[in-house]
């Protein structure tokens, strides 16, 4: 990408992300998209945790391990992270087929990693609340950032050179 193109793509990306991040706050989108995702993640986490832990309950979007509960809120779904990573692929100069593959891969990777994040946080919340705070605030955000970075850099490499 030439310097000028780089600045333009970055500006388009910032505009797109600002628009989409505000779109994600709309009640209608929350009800139609994010709420089912929150409930699905809570249910799936409950099923997986029940394999290794006794006394697991799921109430709506809350996952209980014994008396301690983790509530799956919008920032726990990974949808926002997926949207922002996919947006980067959409604005990058590449054939549309490659962009579409990137978008699918971005969501698959981010949602899978995010699910692992939810499982570890549910487990830590029950076993070590101090570690929960540390891992929740410092470890997972940086890890997910690293995953997004790696996914984007590897995908950029897969873009045919003449289009980059």
């Amino acid at each position: 990408m030439a310097r000028g193109g780089l600045w333009l793509r970055s500006a388009v990306y910032v505009a797109l992300v600002v628009g989409l991040s505000n779109l994600l706050l709309l009640d209608a989108l929350d009800r139609a998209l994010l709420e089912p995702v929150r409930l699905s993640i809570a249910a799936a986490a409950g099923h997986v945790l029940a394999l290794v832990h006794e006394n697991v309950r799921v109430v709506g979007q809350r996952v209980f391990l014994g008396p301690s509960a983790v509530e799956i809120v919008n920032s726990c779904t990974g949808v926002d992270v997926g949207v922002f990573l996919a947006s980067a692929m959409l604005v990058f100069p590449a054939p549309w087929r490659v962009r579409a593959q990137g978008v699918v891969a971005a969501f698959a990777i981010v949602l899978a990693v995010n699910f692992l994040r939810v499982l570890t946080l549910c487990w830590l919340n029950a076993s070590s609340p101090h570690a929960f705070e540390l891992v929740h605030v410092y470890v997972w955000p940086a890890f997910i950032t690293g995953v997004c970075l790696a996914t984007l850099l590897v995908w950029i490499q897969l873009v045919p050179e003449r289009d980059a």
């Binding site: 922002f84 980067a88 690293g146 970075l149 850099l153 490499q157």
Partner: protein, 195 residues
């Protein structure tokens, strides 16, 4: 590029770990948040019928924002828990420091100019928070229409702040630069290949 990506990630993990340790050892976040609070307070809207002040106060081991507000006959002093907006800055600076192959000048530009832009993002997030507190406080007092604490639009920041975008935005923009730089270096013929 996979080698570049791997190297970048390994270095990022190391530098980020060091910065987090540094932030835990010395009050870096409180310093940055204090600077952001002072910058935000400097631009607060003041007038004959309105006055506002914002400070970050220490309470024991913790910090709180104290936002004093007087609009017409409504007067409130709001205390809100401290939020580490500067986490985004730490993440970005760790990434810049971890990027392999930057010349000193490029590194300095990215660190200071990029860091300043990300600091502005952190500042905007804090300002967005304060605008929300003020709107809620005034709505509670029966004042529906307000001009807001700053003469700048902040609505667009809400989405960035309440999703993961604020953290990812500088990282992905940086990845565009780092990716394109690594790509052009890989395509540039080396002295050996030219010979």
């Amino acid at each position: 590029m996979p080698r570049f990506a791997l190297l970048l990630l390994a270095r990022f993990a190391l530098v980020y770990g060091l910065l987090v340790w540094l932030c835990a050892s010395v009050p870096v976040y409180a310093f940055l948040e204090g600077a952001a609070t002072r910058a935000a307070a400097a631009g607060l809207r003041q007038g004959a019928m309105q006055s506002r002040s914002l400070v970050l106060e220490r309470r024991g081991d913790a910090f709180v924002y104290v936002y004093a507000l007087r609009v017409g006959t409504v007067s409130r002093s709001l205390e809100q828990p401290y939020h580490k907006h500067a986490f985004v800055l730490v993440l970005f600076l760790a990434l810049v420091l971890a990027t392999p192959g930057l010349a000193r000048r490029e590194l300095a530009t990215a660190f200071f100019a990029g860091g300043a832009l990300v600091f502005l993002l952190c500042l905007a997030m804090l300002m967005s928070d304060v605008a929300v507190w003020e709107r809620a406080a005034l709505a509670e007092a029966g004042v529906a229409e307000t001009v807001g604490p700053w003469p700048v639009p902040l609505g667009f920041i809400a989405g960035l702040h309440r999703t993961a975008a604020a953290g990812l935005l500088p990282v992905i923009v940086w990845a565009f630069f780092a990716g394109s730089r690594a790509g052009s270096r890989a395509r540039r013929p080396s002295a050996t290949s030219r010979a």
